[in-house]
Amino acid sequence: MTVEDLSVPAHWRRRLTYYRLVAGRCKKCGRLHYPPAPACPYCGSKDLELIEINNKGKLETYTIIYSAPGKSRGRAPIIVGVVNIEGLRIVSELTDIEPEELKTGIDVEPVLRRMDEDTNKGIIRYAIKFRPVLVPKSEERG
């Protein structure tokens, strides 16, 4: 996912969403939304529950940010994609992939990574990114 330039307490309050890919599920209409909101964005119901969606998804589309602004300059190129997990679309940074390796439709999986650092307070913001699914390649007994 992408992380806003939040204060330390604000980031802390959202840590489960950032660390574990927690989505909101509406008990009335049954639809998922991410990140969790106070009310269902589809039917307005406030009867919601939080569920973890640590599943693999497909990369629907992506963009490559070469001219990253400010403190993000050192992270360029930054790749941001739209990942579809069971119909839920998540905007997220991609990692462990180079621009020339990008292809829509590839399988991706969530991993915890450093997103950025608060340059004033020094807190490190960790959050879920997506990377190409690790395909077993080793041919070993067992």
């Binding site: 574990r20 300059r73 450093r114 490190i124 960790y126 690790l134 077993p136 080793s138 070993e140």
Partner: protein
């Protein structure tokens, strides 16, 4: 030996997990950059080393290794009563890394959680502590993580080996484990072979002093102590895994202790990924478990500068067969690699100073 001092046999490994970052720096890039003589890396038995990406650190690598260990153990994270994180490259000087990982994996809040420091041996100290906690029924499961993005001053000989990687184990009762402990033995002294002062970016080391009085003496003493206590000989083991500061020391200490090369090579990972510090020997054990057969016995001897070594005897059980494929294996990470040059290595290791 009284039973109260030999609780290991009640305890076993329920899950193991590894992580190696994607990027590899070939040794010839270091030779080229710093003008080392051709073949310098061969004396260390090195081919290439793993490099953490720009968005990785010991926490993120430890998280993935722990996730893999939990998958194999098939344990509810809420039942994990202790998280010990061994590292010498923690992202914060003050603020536990263990709590970040515990929170991200759903282990919090009813758990112990600490970062441990003993150079490359901290995770092993966590392992021995966890064995005691499980054997005493104080906790049901414990999570032990060894993870490092090892520091080395650019141009220092240490740069050939200092690398990145992580390993994790879920420890529980012997019943249902993939491998149980027969015994463990620790040997420590005050030996200044390698150190890093507060606020210093890179460690100092005692060159040749790191060998005989440090690495070899401590590992030999811990292994001999274990063998004597258990009444075992090198020939009783199918594998021997030692701390791996380079590709040569483990083979040399094995020879001195009477273990043939063939028993060491399956768990020798440093030539291909470098010295992962707190992962190192425990990562070698994980690679052995990836392919081990029920009934096989493994000797594991981590080492940490400062200095100390632990030796463990581990016996594989029938359960291991059903757990091997529940998470990626070490070789899956090993084969997923992208070669980089020194310039990109310097960026990923944050060696450039930028002002934005």
């Amino acid at each position: 030996m009284q039973d109260i001092l030999r609780p290991e046999s009640k305890v076993g490994i329920h899950g193991w997990g590894t992580y190696v970052p994607r990027y590899r720096l070939p040794m010839n890039e270091i030779l080229r950059m710093w003008g080392w003589p051709p073949g310098q890396e061969k004396g260390l038995g090195m081919k290439e080393k793993a490099v953490a990406g720009l968005d990785e650190d010991s926490v993120t690598m430890g998280w993935e290794a722990a996730l893999n260990a939990i998958k194999r153990a098939k344990v509810n994270p809420g039942k994990i009563g202790a998280v010990f994180f061994g590292t010498e490259s923690k992202p914060y000087a003050v603020k536990p890394s263990a709590t970040i990982i515990a929170e991200a994996l759903g282990i919090t809040p009813e758990t112990m959680a600490s970062d441990l420091e003993f150079a490359c041996r901290a995770a092993s100290e966590g392992l021995r502590s966890t064995i005691g906690l499980v054997a005493s029924n104080m906790i049901e499961y414990g999570l032990v993580i060894g993870s490092d993005t090892a520091q080395s001053s650019p141009g220092d000989v240490l740069e050939f080996t200092a690398s990145s990687g992580a390993v994790a184990y879920i420890i529980g009762s012997r019943k249902g484990s993939v491998a149980y402990f027969e015994g463990s033995y620790t040997y420590v002294t005050d030996t200044p072979d390698f150190w890093r002062r507060a606020l210093a970016p890179y460690p100092k080391h005692g060159e040749g002093f790191t060998g005989e009085p440090a690495y070899f003496h401590h590992i030999e003493m811990s292994v001999k102590g274990l063998l004597e206590e258990l009444g075992l000989r090198p020939s009783d083991f199918d594998y021997a895994v030692f701390h791996q500061p380079n590709g040569k020391f483990p083979l040399r200490v094995a020879t001195r202790l009477g273990f043939p090369k063939e028993k060491v090579l399956p768990g020798l990972v440093t030539p291909e990924i470098g010295n992962t510090y707190n992962a190192s020997a425990l990562l070698g054990l994980a690679r052995v478990l990836d392919t081990a057969r029920p009934g096989e016995r493994v000797l594991v001897a981590p080492f940490g500068s400062g200095a100390g070594s632990d030796a463990y005897s581990v016996v594989v059980t029938d359960v291991i067969e059903e757990r091997k494929n529940l998470a990626p294996k070490f070789n899956d990470y090993l084969l997923r690699k992208k070669t980089i040059d020194y310039a990109l290595y310097a960026k990923y290791r944050r060696l450039y100073i930028s002002y934005y």
